[in-house]
């Protein structure tokens, strides 16, 4: 057998469609079918889709200094360690597994960033555009943690799940990568094929607290 092939010869392409193709997010039809039950005044849960984000899976050996340095120089973000994330104004890098990270970025920028990563990395690594394969559901509000707690086996208390932590766990009968963006602001990455199920589950679970579909009116700044 030959040695491990470390020379990555892959053909990459910009997956962005032409400008005249209508892009529809994973939850386009699910959102249209859901009726908001309370106005924003009473709502304790805000639910919306952070639609059509650019998503890249980055794989490599974290103990390889060149890999860690290459990623952080290409993204201007530190490679996060176990169960954590690093974020800038436009990007977030999430730990998924010891050799796997998920980069969330602007969809228009995904190809440029992928090219930048490929230029900065050498050896045995992988960068895969998975933008079409999953979507981000955002959950905010004072009762957001309660909604999550009844949906997941993982404890979401402040001590156990501080801001910035990333945990991939069970969300009802499916799987979600949960990131705590702020004390009352959560991001759930779900597979496209399970997005409708997760959306329906979360809207139903939020109803008892008062649900508003959409972002909170005044941004927490």
């Amino acid at each position: 057998m030959s040695e491990l092939q470390t020379d990555t010869r892959v053909s990459i392409m910009n997956q962005m469609p032409e400008a005249d193709v209508t892009a529809r997010s994973a939850l386009y039809f699910s959102q249209a079918a859901t009726q908001p039950v309370f106005g924003p005044g009473q709502a304790q849960v805000f639910l919306w889709e952070d639609a059509l984000r650019g998503q890249l899976v980055i794989r490599g050996d974290a103990s390889n200094a060149d890999f860690a340095k290459g990623v952080s120089s290409a993204l201007d973000l530190a490679l996060p360690g176990r169960l954590s994330s690093s974020a800038s104004a436009t990007m977030a890098l999430l730990w998924i597994a010891p050799d796997e990270w998920l980069l969330l970025c602007d969809l228009e920028q995904a190809f440029a960033i992928e090219t930048r990563l490929r230029d900065a990395l050498t050896g045995h690594y992988a960068v895969i555009n998975v933008s079409g394969g999953q979507t981000q559901i955002r959950l905010a509000g004072s009762a957001a943690a309660s909604v999550l707690q009844k949906s997941m086996p993982y404890a979401v208390s402040d001590a156990h799940f501080p801001v910035g932590k990333v945990v991939t766990t069970a969300l009802s009968k499916t799987q979600a990568t949960v990131r705590r963006i702020d004390s009352t602001d959560w991001e759930l990455t779900v597979r496209r094929s399970f997005a409708d199920y997760a959306w329906r589950w979360l809207t139903d679970a939020s109803r008892e607290y008062g649900l508003h579909l959409g972002q909170p009116e005044h941004d927490e700044t």
């Binding site: 086996p153 991939t168 069970a170």
Partner: protein, 99 residues
């Protein structure tokens, strides 16, 4: 329900996130073309069913998706600990992996 320690996430997680994958340390016959049917059948189909401590392969299916081994008592369901592939059962632990 019981909790299992994932040596890659470094946390105790609910059993719901894991799948058992059978006994650990199964040795595949080194030369499958020249082993007997009995040897191959043993490897493929026949499993021990011990009473007491048992080393098992588990996967953190809904978490980091890594495989690791668990030492579990089949009589009391007590989990002694987990250890990574390539480590030995006496390294089974329920905490202490560095990030």
């Amino acid at each position: 329900m019981f909790r299992i320690y994932c040596p890659y996430c470094g946390e105790l997680r609910e059993e719901e996130e894991f799948h058992p994958k059978g006994p650990a340390h199964l040795a595949r016959p080194a030369d499958p073309d020249n082993c007997t049917d009995e040897q191959w059948g043993d490897f493929l189909y026949f499993r021990d069913n011990p009473r007491g401590l048992h080393n098992e392969l588990w996967v953190h299916a809904l978490g980091c998706r890594k495989f690791f081994n668990v030492t579990r008592d089949t009589q009391t369901y007590l989990i002694k600990g987990s250890y990574r592939l390539g480590e030995s059962p006496d390294q089974a632990r329920t905490s202490g992996d560095q990030a």
